[in-house]
Amino acid sequence: MSIVTISRGSYSRGREVAEKLAAELCYECLSREIILEASEQFNIPEIKLVRAIHDAPSVLDRFTYGREKYIAFFRAALLKRLQKDNVIYHGLAGHAFLQQIPHVLKVRIIANLDDRIREEMKRENISADQARHILVKDDAERRRWSLALYGLDTWDQRFYDITLHLETMDVDDAVSVILHVLARPCFQTTLQSRELLDDLCLSAQVEAALVRDFPKATADAGKGVVYVSIRGSLVDEKTISAKVNRMAEKVAGVKKIHVNIVAHSIED
């Protein structure tokens, strides 16, 4: 009973590893399905969601908060699915959303750039230079996205439990290594880790419920009690609190809501 997230670059064969691992374990294998689910659940265009979780934020994004909305929806949908356990997720943001959950094995799959270029040339029927350009840009976008939104560098090994370089090892070897690691007691679901995931999921649902009106809202849940932080003036504290309560109490699992108005943030 556990969850595996696989972070990968384009054409790093991470998808193959994920699918094979899911087949071995009889787990569900998820990737783009989450985007579709989020798109349906929150009634938003799929393409906007894809762009929001793939492209690095622009200067304008900082003021419009469009990205925050889509990411909140995506995160809520992803965590809801992961709550079911026995899931392999490969794709963006998994490691970023699940850092605090111990029973989630966070895997990073990397491959030689030349191998990836060859793979892309074969699939897309393009020149080596074009393939190189696309891959380098793609990697940079993902890196900037993660850094801008979560302060996490996708290339920083500290955010993963294991990193597998698919050069000397093939897909089967990688699956075998992951299976071995996954069998360790530290990656088994426990009552506490389960509760952590439930709390994180509830936080994500509340954030998604609030994000249209409060794009920078953050929620921190614990056993149904949700602490919501909202940017706003303390002058409007009562109005904001009442609105947040009205919106958040509709989320299943919410027992009590505490609203904290973040009136300012001053950095040293």
């Binding site: 900082r62 003021f63 419009t64 908060y65 850092q99 979560y150 302060g151 794009p215 920078k216 953050t218 921190d220 932080s229 940017r231 706003g232 003036s233 303390l234 002058v235 409007d236 973040v262 009136a263 300012h264 943030s265 001053i266 950095e267 040293d268």
Partner: protein
């Protein structure tokens, strides 16, 4: 990860740049929601400051446009380089009146020479403020008590109102007359009052008061001025001898160099220091008041830097000295401003308004402006805090009254100094008289509990608690108390000092303890201490005073002290004691 949504983590180089450019400290918090809130608050602020800027410039003895220039440039720089997120700087009543009282004896108000001096005064005040900020002297303002500020503001409000009575009544008043002389003139000339001027002023005043009461968020002052102008037009103002304002030039603050001549700088330096000080006190007091609502931590020295830079920059753009405005800061905060960008928006909007409506000001009757200023002055008087101060503390009430009267009858800068001096005298008097409380075991409480002594007392051991520092200023008072113990209760030669309340002991205090110890030993008694704080203990140890008092005379708690002292006591009174006070006596 949650916190990063409100701002990125910073490295050492970013910290450096944030010190130089303090707006980088809140820049990451800016988003569409804050920009929208700040723009709305800025628009409200711009409308509010328009009549205020004109009125305050008149109070300062300057042409009205200088108030608006000050309201454009000064708040912008102060907001970006200060510490407070909600403080709105610019022309204020107090600074305006200080500028007027400082310069009117040396130049005719409104004259080119007066304007030049006002701008140089602003530059010098800014330099003083910046220097104090860079020297991290923000802490100095802590010595200006709230009572001084309340008294000063109330006094300034009366002075402002007095300066406008002539305009309200439509009678000619001598320039730069004292408070007393002004009222004498008003009483003498009262019969010559122009009823039309009184109607215009009264109409504007009632209109402004009505908006303040029923629509406080609306720009009531502006509507009151428009209403006053309409009354003026209806009555035929000019034909009835009502003075109208000169039209404002529709231009942005022009670049103008202050007068850097040695004579000007030499003459204005002392006056500008007073302006600088009052400006800082006013700005920081207001910033702190607003911060009490917004829960922001104010860095006093950074606020000094912001105020200093704003006045220095302003002095090159035809601005006179500015400071924090209570009215506009309060309105800014209550209008929902979230970052200092609201001040920037306010300045930009005001610049647009200035370019658009400047020619219309020639229809504005001066009595209407005076009526509005009367309300502004009335609102400055903090009746709530005056009542609280009078009810709470006699000393604070004296400080308030002294500052208030000094503001009315002395130079304004001396009023602040007088208030601060009086506060310090009271403070020193208080610290030189630390409270000394006699204690005895609580007969009804648990073991180790102490209370104030009743009739039943131990004839051999006196226990006291000193609440305050044992320093040179307090030594005399404490020594007197020790002597009194001997006079009143002859047998109490053993003295235990409970020292939990002693934060600090200096050499004089330590020597006093040693002398008292020696004196008591000569009286067949002794001196003991318990509950000494680490710092106080360190002073006694390092100076060798601990050895003189006796290390075995220092205890951790009262219980330990009493148990040890009673074992040593060989007092004839103890042998015939029939009602022992301490539980240890019974053993």
């Amino acid at each position: 990860m949650k916190l990063e949504k409100y701002g990125n983590l910073s490295g050492p180089s970013l910290t450096f740049w944030r010190r130089i450019f303090p707006f980088l400290r809140w820049w990451n918090f800016v988003g569409w929601d804050t920009v929208r809130a700040d723009a709305m608050a800025g628009l409200t602020g711009a409308v509010i400051v328009l009549p205020q800027g004109v009125a305050f410039a008149m109070i300062a003895g300057l042409p009205p446009e200088y108030g608006l220039y000050t309201a454009i440039v000064v708040p912008l720089v102060a907001a970006l380089f200060g510490s407070s997120l909600h403080l709105i700087s610019g022309p204020t009543t107090a600074i305006s009146i200080v500028v007027f009282s400082s310069l009117s004896p040396i130049a005719v108000p409104g004259s080119p020479e007066f304007i030049s001096l006002a701008i140089t005064l602003t530059f010098l005040a800014g330099v003083f403020q910046l220097a104090l900020g860079l020297a991290r002297m923000g802490i100095l303002v802590n010595f200006v008590s709230h009572s001084v500020i309340v008294g000063f503001t109330a006094g300034a409000a009366i002075l402002i109102a007095t300066s406008q009575i002539g305009h309200v009544l439509g009678i000619h008043m001598p320039k730069s007359a004292s408070f007393f002389a002004t009222w004498m003139t008003i009483l003498q000339e009262f019969a010559k009052a122009n009823p039309y001027a009184v109607i215009v002023a009264g109409g504007a005043l009632v209109c402004a008061a009505g908006f303040k009461m029923f629509r406080p968020r609306w720009p009531g002052l502006l509507f009151a001025l428009i209403f006053g102008s309409l009354i003026g037009v209806f009555l035929g103002a000019e034909s009835h001898g009502i003075r109208l304002m000169e039209p404002l030039p529709d231009q942005l603050p022009p670049f103008l160099l202050p007068d850097f001549s040695f004579d000007a700088l030499h003459e204005l330096a002392p006056k500008s220091f007073a302006v600088a000080l009052i400006g800082l006190i006013e700005a920081l007091s207001i910033a702190r008041s607003i911060a009490a609502f917004s829960r922001q931590q104010i860095d006093g020295s950074q606020e000094f830097i912001g105020q200093g830079l704003s006045n220095i920059v302003g002095s090159f753009f035809s601005c006179y000295a500015g400071s924090g405005s209570f009215t506009r800061s309060g309105i800014n905060y209550h209008a929902g401003a979230m970052t200092p960008l609201s001040a920037v928006f306010s300045a930009v909007f005001l610049a647009f308004i200035l370019l658009l409506v400047a020619p219309l000001t020639e229809y504005l009757p001066i009595p209407a402006m005076a009526g509005v200023i009367l309300l502004v002055a009335f609102n400055l008087i903090d009746f709530h805090h005056i009542r609280t101060i009078i009810r709470t503390s006699k000393q604070e009430a004296i400080i308030l009254a002294a500052t208030f009267l000094a503001t009315l009858f002395l130079d304004l800068e001396f009023a602040i100094y007088a208030g601060v001096l009086l506060s310090l005298i009271f403070y020193l008097r208080q610290t030189a008289h630390p409270e000394i409380v006699s204690l005895m075991p609580d007969p009804e409480g648990a073991a180790g509990n102490f209370c104030a002594p009743s009739e039943k007392q131990c004839p051999a051991l006196k226990i006291i608690r000193i609440d305050g520092s044992l320093f040179f200023g307090a030594v005399n008072h404490i020594s007197e108390f020790f002597q009194t113990i001997d006079k009143k209760l002859t047998h109490k030669s053993h003295l235990l000092i409970v020292a939990y309340g002693i934060n600090f002991i200096d050499i004089t205090g330590a020597e006093m303890l040693v002398n008292e110890s020696v004196r008591r030993r000569g009286m067949r008694g002794d001196l003991y201490l318990c509950g000494l704080k680490p710092h106080a203990r360190e002073v006694l140890e390092r100076g060798g005073y601990m050895d003189s008092i006796g290390k075995d005379h220092i205890f951790v708690s009262e219980t330990e002290a009493i148990a040890n002292i009673l074992e040593k006591i060989d007092n004839p009174e103890c042998r015939k004691c029939r009602a022992p006070v301490f539980s240890e006596c019974k053993k």
